[in-house]
Each structure stands twice: as C-alpha cells, then as structure tokens.
Amino acid sequence: MILAAADAVSGNIATVGYGLAVIGPGIGLGILIGKTIEGMARQPEVAGQLRTTMFIGIGFVEVLGLLGLITGFLFQ
C-alpha cells in the first residue's frame, strides 16, 4: 500500500529537510520554556524578568527553525 503510493507521491525532498531542521529548535524551545517555567515556579517574584529573557532566547532559537523554512524556498 505504502509502496504503491510511493510511486505517485511527487514533491521535494526539502520538505523532509525542513522536518529535520525543526527538531533542534523544537528541543531548544522545550528546554528554554520549561526551564523558565521552573524558574518562575521557584521564584514568582522575578517572573517578569524571566519572561523577558525567555522571549529574547525564543527569538534566537526560533530564527534557526525559520532559517530552515526559508532555505526550503531558496534552494528548490
């Protein structure tokens, strides 16, 4: 069934590449946000500062995943 379908499936291997590319940022975001929540739970009084720092970190991690996205379009 899958083999039969494989004949008809057309597309770009870049799609798979993007899937691979988001694994790293995915893990990164998980650790980053999880640790921030941990920190907030331990010390709710610095929650605001932690949140800002988390968003700065998210900005850096997220751009990796997005680079994967645009690479798919650039090198078709």
Binding site: G59, L66, I70
Partner: protein, 292 residues
C-alpha cells in the same frame, strides 16, 4: 478552478506541483485521495508576488501588498492622531487602550532592558517601530486584506537597517569607534588565544547576523503564517466543493483549524512586534554598555 478563501489575490496557477515544496506531500495525498476534479492548489511563494495594480515594470510598480501597506500605515497614523488629538487628563476608553500599549513599550521593553535613564532616548523610536510592525503584521488576518505588509522582505529590511544604524551609532557615540570595537569584538575576561576563534564570530554576530536575523525572523514568521492560513482554507474549499462525499467532513476539520490558526496569527503578529523591539533594545544595550 478553486482558489483559497483566505487568498483573494489573483495568483498565477502553478504549472508544476513540484514547485510547491512546503505542502507537496499534502497535495499528493489529497490528489491521490480524490483522483478527480481540478485538484487541490497548495499555496506557493507566488502568493507574495501578486500582479501589479499600476506602474507595471517601472520603479514604482504598485501591487496588492503595497496597497495593504499603505492602508495599514494610513490607519495607524489616523488612529494615533485621533487618540492624541482627543487626549484628556482622565482617559476615555479608546485613549486607555492606546496608553496601555504605549506604556507597555516604555515600561516592559525599553525601561526594563535599557534602564530608566538610557531608555528615554530610545523610547520614541522603539514605540514607533513596535506600532508599525504590529500594524503591518495584523493585516495578515484582517478579512479583505489577507496579507501581512511585512510578508515580503523589503519592509523588514527597512526596519532592520534602521535598528542596525541606531545601535551602531549609539555604541560608537558612547565609547568611540575603537572602544566600541574593543568591547564587542574582544570581550573581557577571555584568555588571549581564544580571540582567534571568538573575534570572527563576534564580528559576524554584531555586523551581519543581528540585523539579518531581525529581518528574516519577521518575514519568515509572516510567510509561514500566511501559508498555513491559505493551506487550511484552500483545503476547506477543496474538501467541501470538490472532494469525494466521504471526504467532505474533513472540510469542517480544516475550517476549524483555519479559524484556530487565524487566532494564533493574531498572537504571532503581536509577539513578533514585541520580539523585534525587545531584541532591538537588547542590541542597543549591548552596544552602549562598556563592561559586563
């Protein structure tokens, strides 16, 4: 020929389904499943380059995205001017909303990152950038406009270049050119041989990666959001109008998913505006602080 509900712009039909790489497997699966009708048209990058409205081929070629940008800019200025002209000591409801947003940029972004003393210089710029990006992003989910003004790289580059000039200028003003380069390219407290590795990386970070990632982050988020929306609503259109009866129920699923993504996009629009100004403030701070 089915076109996406969310994408009212006239886009050329893609002759080769292989060119739409992002969702090609989804397309293939759907065409396999239906095996009839005109098929499902996945969104492509062509969505972001609609035909010109006037000035075809000239320097002032004006297309739909330009029109959306002009509308967003005019609306933003009108709302702000209206709120400012009727400003009272005791704010009304509309003024309150604007003031909360203005205060958010001043307190939660500028003053928290730069400190109260340094922030004063940069608050007007950061506020203007925040509101501009928010306005241009939010057009992506407004019915009728349906595309973010920032979803083509030109506008994000303009914002990034402005911030690039501002943070370099702030750093050089504060420390002089030599001092600025020394604190940024040769961070203190590192053994001297490490500078062989560290200095090129720091150079790339300060002069290339920071502005480049500011622009790319914004544009890629908006492109991804638009593609997700179009994918959902185009799939809804296809499932309900063309697909085999057994598949019509999936139309409801993709429609609800499209609505959910619309709400998500509102969140993303605000988040990206926030992240842009936060990172800009961080870069300014990194430029002007002399020692860690």
């Amino acid at each position: 020929m089915p076109t996406g509900v969310a994408c009212a712009d006239a886009r050329p039909p893609t002759p080769d389904p292989r060119s739409c790489d992002l969702s090609s497997t989804a397309t293939a699966a759907l065409t396999l499943a239906a095996e009839e009708g005109e098929g499902f048209h996945a969104p492509t990058l062509a969505d972001f380059f609609p035909g010109p409205i006037f000035g075809d081929g000239t320097l002032v070629e004006f297309n739909r995205i330009m029109l959306v940008r002009v509308i967003a800019a005019v609306l933003l200025v009108a709302v702000m001017a209206f709120a400012a002209s009727r400003a009272r000591l005791v704010p009304g409801r509309g003024q309150n909303v604007v003031e909360v947003l203005l205060d958010f940029v001043r307190v939660n972004v500028a003053e928290e990152i730069l400190g109260r003393k340094e922030a004063a210089r940069f608050v007007p710029l950061l506020t203007a950038i925040f509101f501009a990006i928010l306005a241009f992003n939010i057009t992506g989910v407004i019915p009728g406009l349906n595309i973010a003004g920032t979803s083509v790289i030109g506008l994000p580059i303009v914002f990034a270049v402005i911030m690039y000039v501002v943070y370099l200028r702030a750093g050089i003003q504060r420390q002089g050119l030599g001092g600025f380069l020394r604190t940024n390219l040769f961070p203190a407290g590192v053994p001297a041989p490490m500078y062989v590795l560290l200095t090129p990386i720091e150079f790339l970070t300060v002069f290339v990666l920071r502005p480049a990632t500011l622009a790319i982050r914004l544009v890629a988020n908006m492109i991804a959001g638009h593609l997700m929306l179009v994918l959902c609503f185009a799939a809804t259109n296809y499932f309900i109008l063309e697909a085999a009866p057994a598949l019509k129920a999936f139309g409801a699923v993709t429609f609800v998913a499209g609505l959910a993504i619309t709400l998500f996009e509102v969140f993303i629009a605000a988040l990206q505006a926030y992240i842009f100004v936060v990172l800009s403030a961080v870069y300014i701070n990194l430029s002007i602080e002399t020692e860690h």
